[in-house]
Amino acid sequence: MSEPIIRIEQVSKKYSRNAQQHLSYGIVDLLREVMGRKQEGLRKDEFYAVNDVSLEIVPGECLALIGRNGSGKTTLLKMLNGLVKPDRGKISIAGRVQALINLGAGFSPRLTGRENIFNSASLMGMSRRETNEVLGAIIAFSELELFIDSPVGTYSSGMKARLGFSVAIHLEPDILLIDEVLSVGDYAFQNKCFTRMEELKKKGVTIVFVSHSHASVIKLCEKAIWLHEGKIHAMGPSLETVQTYLKSMEEEDKRRHLGDGTHSLPEKQVDEPVVAVEDEIDDDPELQLGVSEPKVPEAEYVLPAEQESFVLSGWYKASSEKDVTLLVNGSPATITKVERLDVLDKFPDAPLIMGFKGTEHRETLGARNEVVLQVGGETMWKKIVLVDTPKNNQPGEARDSIYGPVYPASSDVDQIECRILVNGEETTTVPIHSAVTIQFSFRLKREVQGLASTLNFHRKDGLKVAAIASLTDRRLNHIRTGHVYCDVHIADFDFLPGPYVIAMPIAEGRSYLWRDVALEFYVEGQGQLYWGIKDIQHSYEIRVEEA
């Protein structure tokens, strides 16, 4: 086995939970550095962002670092790049390092793409001659030939990232450190980046790759490390490590959605806003977005409609304090407050957490609104905010929800129940590919004609996955009155792991008697990787013919 190109020996890094304290400790640490004294142990409000990590990486190896936000991945990467000094331990690196921690760091919006290439390349250690030699290749790779002499301020964030990646990738380092930067740009460019990285791998470049894209981790890296609360939680082949990690995340996700018990159902979400955008950081992990993770899938929020105006508040990870713009449907909202949040303990990788608050009046919002946060002119994240139609507090009145219309109270039907059974046992946790029975029942309080009911399966974010409707063969049509009991058998429940709801209408012909969320449940996986919305059972045959 060859000598390691990176050797990490019992490395730890600590941060303070208190932002002000974190600064004060900086001076103490500097004075201790000058006096040659080490600060052992944790001081008040401190915690370990990276704790006693040891590992060796051999030349040509591609290692992925996976884990939740705040698990220490970026801190470790920054220590490998010499940006952050370890508090304990030692890192030895035998090669030229190139870090892609923030593509376009140091780009000036006023300068042209070409000028920024020279600046960026010089910051990465290239001379003018070296830059001139690869200038054409950088421009060609970035596919920005037509815009290369335009100011970078006119570029989209994807274009900037393309330029940043192109410069960085042409340095041909011995070690490449990549922190979640390949999720930018269009898919064609992402694919090009991965192809380039595969080429570098073949040339023997060592890669340390931080990503939340597990597919990318498995495709690119042979080995992965799962960091949890700063420690190595698991290490091994990337597929197995990712599966172990996902299984654990799924358990956590399940606990969060269903609680520890399996009998009590969560509250019906359509009666409450799914997430008030007013939520603070602790209540809204979905808002963990920012400079270091700009590409986060859109998330939907539902706002209650009773208010005259809404407070849109959130936060973002930042490297510095910059201008914040909140665009609602393309128009700027009034920003009432931007402040530095004292939550660095939650996100030790972030140099700064900025919070913001803006207001928007009800009449300016439609049913579906696009809210975009721009920091320093760059789009940080995009949210879809849905606004409920106003409630008039009359029982039985309809309103909209992300699962369709809601008729929560009815004088025509009562005693509505719905439950899910696996192996004859009632549960709210369904293993993927298990045989499932959905039992629902209701009592008709008057005689009806053309009775119908549907089980609408929605992902919790609102996406309709499937529906089982009695209308297809009018199987409930003959029922006029009485207490109705239905058992629906599904031989292979193939929804992907995650939380779901069943929205169920009971209708007379086309007129709803009742419609609401009847059940919430969670599908758990088998520790495998899944893509899409369903896991299709299949067999695989391979045949190769001589060319």
């Binding site: 730890s12 974190h22 600064l23 004060s24 900086g26 001076i27 640490d29 500097l30 201790r32 550095e33 000058v34 006096m35 040659g36 004294r37 080490k38 920054k78 220590m79 490998l80 790049n81 010499g82 940006l83 952050v84 000094k85 370890p86 508090d87 304990r88 331990g89 030692k90 890192i91 030895s92 690196i93 035998a94 090669g95 030229r96 390092v97 870090a99 921690i101 923030n102 760091a105 140091g106 000036s108 006023r110 300068l111 000028e115 020279f118 600046n119 010089s122 910051l123 990465m124 001379s127 003018r128 041909e172 011995d174 040339k203 023997g204 490297s319 510095s320 140099p351």
Partner: protein, 282 residues
């Protein structure tokens, strides 16, 4: 990848007592970072002057206006123009231009880590690239100031080609004079911005505790204070050299220079070792 790269070690161990290693790293930083520093300054200059027609003229206006006011006060004898050793206009213009170079050197060095925090958070660049970039930037701005001083010397009929040549050669000392305390304070200013505010506050009256725009009367309290004012010796000597082709009190200049050298080296050393500790907190 053909030649084996030297092993780089990042450890928790204090580097302050490995003076040799740090000094080697500082020297190598200077040698390797000149091009980066040039690019940083180029970017800085283009950014500063984009969207401005008059550009650098604005930088010159402030000291020129103040110089104009003092020149007027001297002409109207509200302030004594005696003992200047040169025409009043030349005295105040040189004083203001040199003093502006000094204050700019201090403030740019002191704010270096704060201004570069975005870079330092994402790129491993040698601290020396930042240090040199300050020297380049002040040097660039000084070109216009030197031009103004040259014009005033010629207009006042006190232009000494040899003296002015010597002045240009020694002019970088003025930048070093300012950068030395600036670098020493930079780490502290990164954590506590109050440091910068205090220094900016001190810089204003310091101008009047040195013969920048008027001659300090001999035997007064101000006369005693100006001796310990760090800017006095370099300022009066550079001005005298440019106009009269002569130095004033060389031993005292060398003494001040020695102090500046020590402060500058300690400041640079401290700045170098503090970057990985403080950049994440700036």
């Amino acid at each position: 990848m053909d030649s084996p790269s030297p092993i780089r070690v990042y450890s928790a161990e204090s580097s302050a007592f490995h003076v040799g290693e740090v000094v080697r790293s500082m020297v190598s930083g200077v040698l390797k970072s000149r091009y980066v520093a040039y690019r940083l300054v180029l970017k800085d200059i283009k950014e500063s002057y984009s969207g401005s027609v008059l550009g650098f003229v604005w930088d010159l206006l402030d000291p020129l206006i103040l110089a104009g006011i003092f020149y007027y006060l001297m002409q109207t004898r509200l302030i004594s123009a005696e003992g200047l050793g040169m025409p009043a206009s030349v005295f105040v213009v040189y004083g203001m231009m040199l003093y502006q170079t000094y204050t700019e050197s201090i403030t740019l060095s002191m704010d270096l880590m704060n201004r570069s925090k975005n870079l330092l958070n994402h790129l491993n660049i040698a601290p020396e690239a930042l240090v040199i970039s300050v020297a380049y930037r002040v040097g660039f701005n000084s070109l216009f100031r030197i031009g103004v001083m040259l014009v005033f010397s010629i207009m006042a009929g006190v232009f000494s080609p040899i003296g002015f040549l010597k002045f240009i050669v020694l002019f970088p000392l003025m930048i070093i004079w300012g950068m030395a305390p600036g670098l020493l304070l930079a780490p502290f200013n990164t954590i506590y911005k109050d440091v910068g505010r205090i220094v900016r506050l001190i810089i204003v009256p310091l101008r009047f505790l040195a013969p920048v725009i008027y001659a300090i009367p001999a035997g007064t309290m101000l006369d005693k204070l100006q001796v310990i004012n760090p800017v006095t010796m370099i300022l009066v000597n550079l001005r005298s050299l440019a106009v009269n082709n002569s130095f004033i009190d060389v031993p005292m200049l060398l003494l001040h220079g020695g102090v500046v050298l020590v402060v500058g080296l300690v400041g640079w050393f401290l700045f170098h070792i503090s970057i990985p500790i403080l950049s994440e907190r700036s």
